[in-house]
């Protein structure tokens, strides 16, 4: 049973990716360019060592967003608030990191902790509204994303927490001192953020928490059936709240790799759109830490190799088409797989009943 689950877990995303490639193939064909040439070009550009490094760094950020979304999905929560939570995490991480002076490792740990707290606290608002007031988390989170962006923009004004360095257009926080920075690994003329290891640690902890602990069992049970979980003795509304906070805390880490290893300060240049990406990656990776990792890498790879298409006169937006069709195909593919699995199991149950018939004869 587990073997077949693993098999389908690989087959379904592969089928979805092939389906999307086929779709893009047709579009490129209509445009009159050779699709195979284009794919070759993207692959050779994407796997160029220099590009690989930045893909890995982007993967780390996407991975955090994917795991944050996956925790929410396990509770049937659609955490579209990852954007706001990530912003809060990165901003307050940067502010606190710049304000204190601590020994190196401790300093980094404090920043990570603050980022998680800020992300979690921001998510807690949506969690509270959902549990106590019945407000749909999608709506409150969309609002909270706007509010987070506005609050940070306000706090970044020069007389408050921000400053405008000479020659820069971007308001930013004060730089974090050396002790609060994370080292990088030099590889192929680039630098890989060591936050990668924290990301892996988060992925492993997520898996252990979910599959091995009573807390994870209660979380999954509440997601599968609120009523059954409640009847079994789980504080189901409490679980929803805690899960929301947990998802927000992980989302708070999305920008930390960049912050600690690259920019050392938060600025308005920090990108947005992590919520949608995170949700798509959790879907594609089926909420599994390894699956999300591959999905995050695929996303970074596609985005990094997109600009090369422009040299050939193909709009790089074709990559967005590709990502979109992958997500659409994967949703269908998983549904098909789930039905096949259930049918197989029902057949197996039927076989048992038939054997019982033979025995009683």
């Amino acid at each position: 049973m587990t073997k077949s689950r693993l098999f389908w877990g690989v087959v379904a995303p592969t089928a979805a990716i092939l389906n999307s490639l086929f779709f893009v193939y047709i579009i490129l064909k209509i445009r009159g360019v050779d699709p195979i040439e284009m794919f070759k070009l993207m692959i050779s550009y994407g796997f160029d060592p220099r590009n690989l490094v930045s893909e890995i760094n982007q993967t780390v950020a996407y991975y955090m967003a994917g795991v944050a979304a996956a925790i929410g999905f396990k509770m049937l929560l659609f955490n579209i608030g990852i954007d706001g939570q990530y912003r809060m995490g990165a901003f307050f991480g940067a502010v606190v990191g710049a304000a204190v002076n601590l020994p190196p490792v401790l300093h980094v740990m404090l920043i990570i902790l603050v980022a998680m707290l800020a992300g979690g606290a921001w998510a807690a608002i949506a969690g509270y509204l959902k549990v106590k007031r019945g407000v749909n988390e999608v709506i409150s989170n969309i609002m909270l994303n706007f509010i987070a962006a506005a609050i940070i923009a306000f706090l970044l004004s020069p007389n408050l927490l921000g400053s405008l360095p000479e020659g820069s257009q971007n308001l930013q926080t004060n730089p974090i001192p050396k002790s609060g920075r994370m080292p990088t690994i030099k590889a192929f003329e680039g630098e890989i953020y060591t936050f990668l290891f924290i990301a892996i640690l988060v992925g492993v902890s997520y898996w252990i928490m979910l599959n091995k602990t009573i807390f994870g069992f209660n979380l999954r049970a509440t997601g599968l059936s609120f009523r059954a979980a409640r009847a079994s003795g789980v504080n189901a509304p409490g679980m929803i709240f805690i899960t929301t906070v947990l998802s927000g805390a992980i989302a708070g880490l999305v920008g930390i790799g960049t912050l600690l290893s690259d920019t050392h300060s938060y600025s308005m240049a920090f990108p947005s759109g992590y919520a949608f990406t995170g949700l798509a990656l959790a879907l594609l990776g089926r909420n599994h830490p390894v699956g999300i990792f591959f999905a995050a890498f695929l996303w970074s790879f596609l985005e990094r190799s997109a600009p090369v298409l422009e040299f050939e006169g193909v709009p790089p937006e074709i990559v967005i088409v590709m990502q979109g069709t992958i997500v659409l195909s994967i949703v269908i593919a998983y549904e098909v797989v789930a039905r096949i699995n259930l049918r197989q199991q029902q057949r197996a149950v039927g076989t048992v009943n038939a054997e019982n018939v033979k025995e009683t004869k």
């Binding site: 059936s225 059954a228 259930l342 057949r347």
Partner: protein, 509 residues
Amino acid sequence: MQLSNVSNVLEVIGVEKRYPGVVANRDVSIQIQAGTIHAIIGENGAGKSTLMKTLYGLIKPDAGQIRIFGKEVNLKSPQDAIELGVGMVHQHFKLADNATVLENVILGSEPTRFGFVVKYDEAREKLIEIAQNYGLDINPDEKLSNLGVGERQRVEIAKVLFRGAKILILDEPTAVLVPQEVDELFANLRELVKKGLTVLFISHKLDEVLSIADDITIMRQGTTVATRKPENTNKKELAELMVGGELPKPKAGELKISPESFLKIESASYFRADGRQILDDVNLELHGGEILGLAGVEGNGQSELIELIMGLIKPASGSVEVLGLDAANTLTREIRNAGVAYIPQDRQRDGLLMTAPLWENRILGHQFAEPMAKSIWVNKSAAIQDSKRVVDEFDVRTPGINVLASALSGGNQQKFIVGRELTGDPKLIVAAQPTRGVDVGAQAIIWEHLMQARSRGAGILLISADLEELFSLSDRIAVIYSGKIVSILNPAKTTPEDLGLAMTGAKSA
């Protein structure tokens, strides 16, 4: 094989259906006469559903013949079946909540002008005519969301009649109904038959079948084993034909009531959020070693009473003491850990994680204590081991403990829940409708285990709407009616009629 007879509207001759590794139906033969109610009974998994799907064109048989109105037919889809006058009323209604009765009835077969303008007036007239003709009490313009279960079922029946069905197949129609609604349904069915229609009635409730059917065909292990007239048979014979042997009888054993009270409810009241009073001054006491039946038509406060006991809601006034704990101020997990087993009435919603494997379902409700929990960790090996034991001891028909709960039939899901809850010698067992929708074989197993728990000294609160169950198991029967305990009866000195009266609120003598 018999030659076809003109008065037979539907004949099934030697039908067989195989799946890889399974024979779902073999040598199935039934003759159904025009203008009769023909019941088909059998345990879960006896092949009733396969046969019905075959008759409705959802499944193609591998061998055998089906004749409708004397003509051999080859059904390729439900559309074929409908055209030949065969209609199906499903157990789970397929209706749209936000549409009216009329819209639901015509959905998919709308009479139209120019092929796209729906002729509502014509449809309404036709529906009203059908309703009057067959004595179906429905209002075409009522929103479906305002209707109760019994009314919804009438809409389903009207839907089938609207499509011109002459032969109606009803798949376990009474499973979802309360006793009064069952009576109404039966009156409707008799009316249909009087008007010349034929009804095929699938069930596993023997009392109902005996009271409504003109002919009863029994299925067992995929084949038809016998056909009886209700006047020439009895429940015992039918049950034995269904199971293929004698049924185990629950042994009553000696009554050893302990002086300790395991459950003590004192003048408990409860109000719903909208202010309606659901429970009104309820007093109940249950000792170890006895089974207290709680009889009542569904919706008279039983669900809330159970939730009070499990600590899921708090009483507005009064007290609920469970194994010495004040349930209002105790977490559900602590109540469970103190030794309370809970068999919920809606097993699929409250008792199982349908899309999780069986071994995870073994943990559910027991995740706060050893052996399912080991400090903060789930004890997977203990869960797997004990799931296997439950599957063996309670005869859960499953190929393994990794299958999803949703893959099992209802009866087997219930056996698994009962097995899980009776593990570890619970002191108090809250069993709500423990054998609803369960076949006689599984029912006997569940009753047997409940009786054993009683002789081990457990106190059992048996919430049931099934009079036979209440009389077979209970030492005392409390009757709940609109939130009040109206009487406490001694089953040895009470007739089912008296109990039925008390359940509907009539003052007993």
